[in-house]
Symmetry: C2
Subunit: 347 residues, 2 copies
């Protein structure tokens, strides 16, 4: 049998005062008008009874839970778990706690999670929205529940967001492959209509265009993330084993690169000789690959910090202007993309 926790009432009874007095002492401290004598007795009793305020009761009264709902695609994905950790730490500075949920990129799951967390009265959300979750996001707006989108956003819905300049990042990554003398550059992305993925493809195309390189539809493969393995094989077979194979490959995410490289190894192709590689995101695996990967490093720290900053500001004041933050990725150049001509000469 659970020993019930001590409440204000218990302290009040013990000291012989009203619960109001106890509350004033414990929550108002010096500012209360309670006499020093009583105040002391109350504090003493609180300590003796090991009083811990019931936050649920406080929340009910105040309408605030000091809880942030965090919705990501999958907390076990290092990209998100890293951000989650930063958000956790940042939130703690503001005395906020984090409840998380994984949407699995499914709008329905995300909807359930959001509803669930609203019922639990979270004060605000940080969301990496799933494809097709526009309505849910719109609904949050209409209910005036503060939220910040991260990683992805919906151009048609005006809201707070902290995202990457995906267009520029992809453009930079592909440009690097061009600079290292590659002419037939393929890309592997997720088949996902979300803006961030589209921008990555756009950046890829633009880089080709500006450098007067061929863009072929068959060199951009979109893969369903529920069948990565099989679709990756088909995609790579088509691009690498064809009559006219590509000489470089741009991966739109970490996970895609991991799967892709495993298959490239199976095909016994050598990086960067047979295919040069640039990928999005960092990963321990990238450091250990025989040919360390050139990648686009996202500013995760910044994602986490900014999103918490914006959210807490908006939770404190609902009338603030929205913030739209685009951060830049950093291209970390290593061996997998090959060397540029100038570099070659110098070396």
């Amino acid at each position: 049998m659970k020993r019930k926790k001590t409440s204000l009432k218990d302290i009040a009874k013990k000291v012989g005062v009203s619960t109001a007095t106890v509350s004033y002492v414990l929550s108002k401290g010096k500012e209360s008008k309670v006499s020093a004598a009583v105040s002391e007795k109350v504090k003493q009793a609180a300590k003796e009874l090991n009083y811990q305020p019931n936050q649920i009761a406080k929340s009910l009264k105040s309408g605030k839970t000091f809880t942030i709902g965090l919705i990501v695609a999958d907390i076990s994905n290092p990209f998100f778990s890293h951000i989650a950790r930063i958000i956790e730490d940042e939130a703690a500075h503001f005395n906020y706690n984090v409840i998380f949920g994984s949407s699995d990129e499914k709008a329905e799951k995300s909807d359930n999670l959001i509803q669930f967390l609203i019922n639990r009265q979270v004060d605000g959300f940080i969301i990496a929205p799933a494809e097709g979750s526009e309505k849910q996001i719109q609904a949050l707006k209409e209910q005036h529940i503060p939220f910040v989108l991260i990683d992805r956003y919906f151009p048609d819905i005006s809201s707070n967001y902290v995202v990457l300049n995906n267009y520029k990042a992809a453009y930079d990554g592909v440009s690097r492959l061009i600079k290292t003398s590659h002419k037939k550059i393929g890309m592997i992305a997720y088949s996902n209509s979300l803006q961030h993925m589209c921008e990555r493809v756009k950046g890829y195309k633009q880089a080709l265009l500006e450098n007067k390189l061929d863009y072929r539809e068959k060199w951009v493969k979109e893969i369903d993330f529920t069948h990565i393995e099989e679709e990756m094989k088909t995609a790579l077979d088509e691009m690498l084993l064809s009559e006219e194979p590509i000489d470089a490959l741009f991966f739109a995410t970490n996970t895609l690169a991991v799967h892709g490289l495993k298959y490239i190894d199976q095909l016994q192709l050598k990086v960067p000789h047979d295919v040069a590689i640039v990928s999005f995101d960092e990963g321990e695996a990238f450091d250990f690959y025989y040919c360390p990967l050139t990648y686009l490093k996202q500013p995760l720290e910044e994602f986490g910090k900014q999103s918490v900053r914006i959210l807490t500001a908006h939770m404190a004041n609902n009338d603030l202007d929205e913030e739209h933050i685009q951060l830049d990725a950093e291209l970390i150049i290593r061996k997998s993309c090959g060397m540029a001509i100038e570099e070659n000469k110098e070396g």
Copy 2:
């Protein structure tokens, strides 16, 4: 201005009945004795007003929050984020939500987190306890708050736990190195008095002992996890660059292996020729290493599922017997440990 959410009262007013009636209709359904006519009207109104019950109020009344507090060392560590994901999914089956916190292996942080979550009235905990957190765990017991320890436990405190048979796992890993003809086997562990780490060292020693191999104190290095990089270098220098260098190395965790291997590469030593390697835990990085790593795969799925199963059972019934679960790791043999003689002959 936040539009206030609709409450039972709003529905009651709209339909013209008491809040009690509304509550009965909405929470008791068929079992209530409310007339079909009223019932229908109430449901209709609830839908029109988009009623969502306030879980905070429910929790205050019921004393249940349907929330599990999850405390791990660091949610951004793949080992824990993977477990977190499994716990999240399992908990959802029981209609439970998860609040997490990272202790950073610090007892004080862990204490704050636990206190914080208790005040938020979580119904139970799943905890990977930090070193020195015995008192907190003991306190949970005394308050009769249900909890399950995972990954580590305290032999002196009887409680639910789901851990690895670390002794056996380490024994198996080191035995493999012995079978592949290595005689001078080092180990790198964390300097941590937690039982799981000690067991890993014990398993290592026992494997040496049973095979009549030398055990030397200088071949077991304990590293402070706040200074992995520097201490790893010193440790490896001492073991690998000495007069009598070791020929095999056993890493007690994923993170240690990652740092260790990076430095081994810097030293230009080849695995398994110069040093054979076996490590705990899996990791994408291990697959991509030029010499795929032999490792001890922990049954994460099982950790998550069992811990939630046990916790929910104990939350439902406080008088259940404690469960002590030890799971076995699986040794995944790849190239980094070298080949055993028999295998060599056959090959």
